[in-house]
Symmetry: none
Amino acid sequence: MQQLKPSNCLLGSSSIIRRQHFLIRVLGCSSNNQTHHHQSRMNSMICGSDLEADALGILRSITPALDPSRYKGQAGKIAVIGGCREYTGAPYFSAISALKIGADLSHVFCTKDAAPVIKSYSPELIVHPILEESYSVRDDEDKRSISDDVLAEVVTWMERFDCLVVGPGLGRDPFLLDCVSNIMKHARQSNVPIVIDGDGLFLVTNCLDLVSGYPLAILTPNVNEYKRLVQKVLNCEVNDEDAPQQLLSLAKGIGGVTILRKGKSDLISDGETVRSVSIYGSPRRCGGQGDILSGRQLCPYVDASVAVFVSWARQYISSGKGESAMNPTILGCIAGSALMRKAASLAFENERRSTLTGDIIECLGRR
Amino acid sequence: MQQLKPSNCLLGSSSIIRRQHFLIRVLGCSSNNQTHHHQSRMNSMICGSDLEADALGILRSITPALDPSRYKGQAGKIAVIGGCREYTGAPYFSAISALKIGADLSHVFCTKDAAPVIKSYSPELIVHPILEESYSVRDDEDKRSISDDVLAEVVTWMERFDCLVVGPGLGRDPFLLDCVSNIMKHARQSNVPIVIDGDGLFLVTNCLDLVSGYPLAILTPNVNEYKRLVQKVLNCEVNDEDAPQQLLSLAKGIGGVTILRKGKSDLISDGETVRSVSIYGSPRRCGGQGDILSGRQLCPYVDASVAVFVSWARQYISSGKGESAMNPTILGCIAGSALMRKAASLAFENERRSTLTGDIIECLGRR
């Protein structure tokens, strides 16, 4: 196994083994100031006195083994709700990321206009052209009928999904958002985790009831989306002096949903605990790609990464390996953030200023 | 030629020759416990006392030489019937696989919605937008007229095809399946082999007459599709204790069609003999990619591989090289299975958990 950073190599001694589990390859070095305890208790990983989570330890623990006894579908089935006439890139990036990370199947539910385009990006995805925007709907009766059809179509698939991602490239058409609200209500009744990003956060910020009190809702706001949430829920401005406390209050204020606040460091809270993920994003390490990447919004697709890892964390805990007190959404956010930051860092090393989202996705499976 | 596994290398001595016929490169090592007899009688390859076929020997034997005296079309012309509004990836993967394996031409017959998308995946394919789903048909008269047009269009091409693949991404629209039934009846009259996969198996399981007693029909069911066939034909549940005997009974029960049962080992029967192909799929070799790959549905495209090799096996036998008693569909299934398993294994070695179907197809022509 090759070392990424000679000074940090953890597995350098096992020079004979060249091909191992890819995530261990991906993470062939530990981050700067962390000692890796593969057998350490998960609780200490997320509840240590330091705010920084042992992201790599968590990532390694909850990633399922590539084990021949596993059967179809166990690695996760993800659905992305997004994609409209205007936006088609974001839902594609989310859905393909889920596959590259290791999900079994990745579906996209989008508008009829968006579907042929998203399909054409990759034959690997299953794309359902079912949503409609107001401009293609004639009257209220038409709306009711379409709305019913949309829900019926998604419902037939719902129980097969381990996690929904709502929002990438969704747009803000009121009728479309109404239909998506219905989908979210049904997912909630079915206890399916929902990662909410992009225009999904616009929807949720204006209708907090959709997620309030649902412990399997995960919000992944960027700076601006976070600002709107804080204003709406806490009725104040963002306070960067005490960001962890404010995030804690915000998550508690929405009834214990989990929030991943994207930034130079990603901050994660469920209203009970706060953890941060800073690895691979420090300006010291890579000349400031953290800012450049977030400036170019090259890392919005942490949503899919979180969706896959939340599915894996729930499996991990339900299989009795973890401690039942652990919150799988926190574990999933930590691991999902770490993997995406790692991929972004690798892509940036190669492409520098020319880094595109597709370059990062190519790095999701690479050392 | 480089060795893949030093202990298994068969052709390691011919170190000078770096570029050879691609299939020989692909198969630069023999499987674990097989001795390669390039000149051995084909009968011993498929009728040995061991269930395991000499898949690599058969593959090498029936693959036509890259001979400059051969003319265009001799390497096979394949048509895939599949692709609807919802599914476009599966027919693309099948059709492009046929070309990568070595067919001369690969056509796709799909719905009008699916055609632009499938065309956009690759300019290498010939895509015919002729099928229709119920939602785009007005009344019974419309149906009759469309159904006639569809058949007329396919019939003009039929005699040029060496094999049809029916089912990848076909969907289950009743009107569309009616049209496809007519195509199958015509192919049968014309003595064109038909490989049936995916939704084609749904159609055939509900209408066994379409294939019953047709020796050039090849069914390639996965676990669930096999289960439905067994229930329908044998009126019992799948018996994994005596899988070969049950497969034999099933193939005989459908009047001597050939069935390739996909699984950790692929099992093949025509109602007279049963053979298995296990190479490249053992968890020992690649950490369990057999299950994982089938779990991620990364190997459904054995249908195209079988189609190409059945065409080649028929040529091989009709040219007098083989023995006339051999069943070309059995030979084609064995070789098609071996090649696809090899490609999947190579892709998995490189991409591990991130392996996508496209990665496997890229390996169809690689060592």
